[in-house]
């Protein structure tokens, strides 16, 4: 009977061939490590956020007089409301953690390089959508941090040339963040996840067109590919199990560690908390904003700091294939960059003093320096490596590759 149904569908819709093409015979490099699990995890978290979000929206009220109370209603009175809400608030952090690791993997293994530029850029678009969604969602509980976070971020648009103040008022629909702002943020917070789904679909089409990169950093011969299903479904589900354990520890035993204490105080437009900080996932970018003494400059620097990753395919001038594994200087650069992110995150977290401001400025310079100097560093690295002689494992990879691919790769990179 199921066979007959599938046959009926196949005559009208390419179900079987679709599943075959994208899953049961989709060729995947067999040497993918567990760092390649995080795209799947991001997809899972997206589904979890949408599911918990829809059920939370059934109880939430987007009204400045009611929203704080409605969150308390969810936390105290709604059956398992506390579980849904803590899953959703923890899920936001999990989403960023998973995406950051996913991006770090891409940078480390050079997965953004030819021919995966569009894949990388759709991913960057997803990051921007995710940031916007998270930012708007953070206003909804209408706590002190919600209010002042939204106030500060909408104020960033004062940097718009000529119409700065009008743009800010237009965004808020009010002179300050108010009822109009809350309602529109709720509407958009509900809409954006569906835009993300669309963008994920584009991301997947791009991925399935150029196929997965792999730790060696060069395209493998056909014999080194295995079907996605069952090998990587099994691997992804195992990874999901590990992820869920970590996620559950946060949800059930330390959910409030991811919620700023001040957000348990209702929004008060008349009083700013002594120390306002964004959520941890925005801290490095926030530190860059604070490091630039000029307002417009700070906003531009912060916007640019997020956009910089998109330029990586142009900035990386090295023709040495493979990721950081085969490129010692790039590897050092990668870790220094991560360290710099952590320093920026720390600087963004603590209240600003002259000393930390200086640290933040140095770290900001390092941040942009590592991007802007990258063309020269990568070029120099290539020269240095060729002079020294390529490592034997890389030479072996060169030999294994079919000659045609070698040709196109050299041609494109030149």
């Amino acid at each position: 009977m199921p066979g007959r149904i599938i046959k009926w569908i196949d005559q009208r819709f390419p179900l079987t061939s679709f599943v075959e093409h994208e899953l049961t015979s989709y060729p995947t490099p067999r040497n993918l490590s567990y760092w390649w699990n995080f795209g799947f995890l991001a997809g899972f978290v997206l589904v979890l956020q949408i599911a918990t979000g829809i059920f939370l929206a059934m109880h939430y009220k987007a009204d400045t007089a009611l929203s704080f109370d409605s969150i308390q209603h969810i936390m105290r009175d709604v059956n398992y409301g506390w579980l849904l809400r803590y899953m959703h608030s923890t899920g936001a952090s999990a989403f960023f953690l998973v995406i950051f690791i996913h991006m770090a993997r891409t940078l480390y293994y050079g997965s953004f390089r030819t021919p995966r530029e569009l894949l990388w850029w759709t991913g960057q678009g997803l990051l921007l959508l995710l940031m916007a969604t998270a930012f708007m969602g953070y206003l909804l509980p209408w706590g002190q941090m919600s209010f002042w976070g939204a106030t500060v971020i909408t104020n960033l648009f004062r940097a718009t040339p000529f119409f700065g103040d009008q743009v800010v008022v237009w965004l808020r629909g009010d002179y300050t963040v108010g009822d109009a702002t809350l309602s529109r943020f709720f509407a958009l917070h509900y809409l954006f996840p569906f835009l993300i789904i669309g963008a994920v679909a584009v991301h997947m089409v791009a991925l399935h067109s150029v196929k997965s990169s792999n730790p060696s950093g060069i395209n493998l011969a056909d014999k080194d590919n295995i079907p996605f299903h069952p090998y990587f479904t099994a691997k992804d589900f195992y990874g999901l199990g590990v992820f869920l354990i970590v996620f559950s520890i946060f949800v059930f035993f330390m959910p409030d560690s991811l919620i700023e204490p001040a957000n348990n105080i209702p929004a008060n437009p008349m009083q700013t908390p002594n120390h306002i900080v964004p959520e941890w996932y925005f801290l490095p970018f926030y530190a860059i904003l604070r490091s630039v003494p000029n307002m417009v400059g700070g906003v531009v620097a912060m916007g640019l700091s997020v956009m910089m990753f998109s330029f990586m395919p142009f900035l990386d001038r090295s023709r040495i294939p493979g990721g950081a594994h085969f490129r010692p200087i790039y590897r050092v650069q990668f870790y220094l960059f991560l360290l710099d992110m952590l320093v920026l995150g720390y600087v963004g977290y603590i209240p600003p003093t002259n000393q930390t401001l200086l640290i933040g400025q140095v770290a900001t310079l390092c941040y942009f320096g590592s991007f802007f100097l990258h063309p020269f560093i990568s070029k120099a690295e290539e020269r240095w490596m060729r002079a020294r002689g390529l490592p034997p494992e890389l030479l072996a990879l060169f030999e294994k590759r079919p000659p045609r691919e070698k040709l196109t790769r050299e041609g494109e990179a030149a």
Binding site: R30, S33, W35, D69, Q72, M75, R76, W82, L83, Y86, A104, R105, Y108, I226, P230, Y231, A234, K235, F237, Y238, L240, G241, V242, L244, I245, S248, I249, V251, F252, F253, P255, D256, S257, P261, A262, N264, I265, W280, Y335, L338, L339, L342, G345, Y346, Y349, I350
Partner: protein, 213 residues
């Protein structure tokens, strides 16, 4: 990429170290019904004249397991579904203290340091050399030293007041997070299940990949 993992762990440790910056006393919050019940009693006498707890209703106390008769004496002629509101109106409080006393429903979660902060604050009153009241944790506070810790000099008296403060904190901690015990209980089941499932998924992964060798 192993170095990356190490950096991540380092980051987590650093951030948790950051969180515990203030010099707060740590208080062990009681989660048993009797401690919380004593806490409600103390709050009803000491705090409720000025502070409301608008997210807590009398029926919540009964639901937690506090003696119905005690709840009935606290609520007087108010219905079970009524919230624990302050006896003093907000405008009177504004006149008396210059600002409205905050609602206490979420107090145990609404300050850096949580319950430890509130405990340290209540125990932080002292008498300045000029004979004026002061507070180590929150010097600008408008609240009087309601438990009388600054006047208590004998050790026994101080211990008694500290015990009372601990009862109050226990109630406030429950009020801020009434589902905590249920959450922990469910959490152990969920984690137990996930360990079993993940182990099975690990075996499945291993078996399927063994076909490649």
């Amino acid at each position: 990429m192993k170095t990356f993992m190490a950096l991540l762990v380092l980051c987590c440790i650093a951030s948790s170290a950051l969180a515990s910056e203030a010099k707060l006393e740590t208080v062990k919050v009681g989660i048993d019904v009797r401690t919380v019940e004593r806490g409600v009693d103390a709050v009803m006498n000491a705090c409720r004249p000025c502070h409301s707890m608008k997210y807590i209703k009398y029926r919540d106390l009964v639901g937690f397991g506090i003696d119905k008769q005690k709840v009935d004496t606290w609520r007087g002629d108010q219905p079970l579904d009524a919230a624990l509101l302050a006896q003093m109106s907000e405008s009177d409080a504004m006149q008396a203290y210059g600002k409205a006393p905050p609602d206490l429903s979420l107090m145990a979660k609404a300050r850096d340091g949580g319950a430890n902060y509130v405990y340290s604050y209540m125990m932080g009153y002292y008498v300045t050399p000029e004979g004026m009241p002061g507070n180590h944790i929150y010097p600008e506070t408008k609240m009087p030293d309601i438990l009388g810790i600054s006047a208590a000099t004998e050790a026994a008296q101080r211990t008694e007041i500290q015990g009372k403060a601990r009862d109050i904190i226990s109630f406030l901690a429950w009020a801020a997070d009434p589902h905590e015990q249920e959450r922990h209980r469910l959490g152990y089941y969920v984690l137990g299940y996930l360990f079993v499932l993940t182990f099975l998924l690990y075996l499945v992964k291993k078996q399927i990949w063994s076909r490649l060798k």
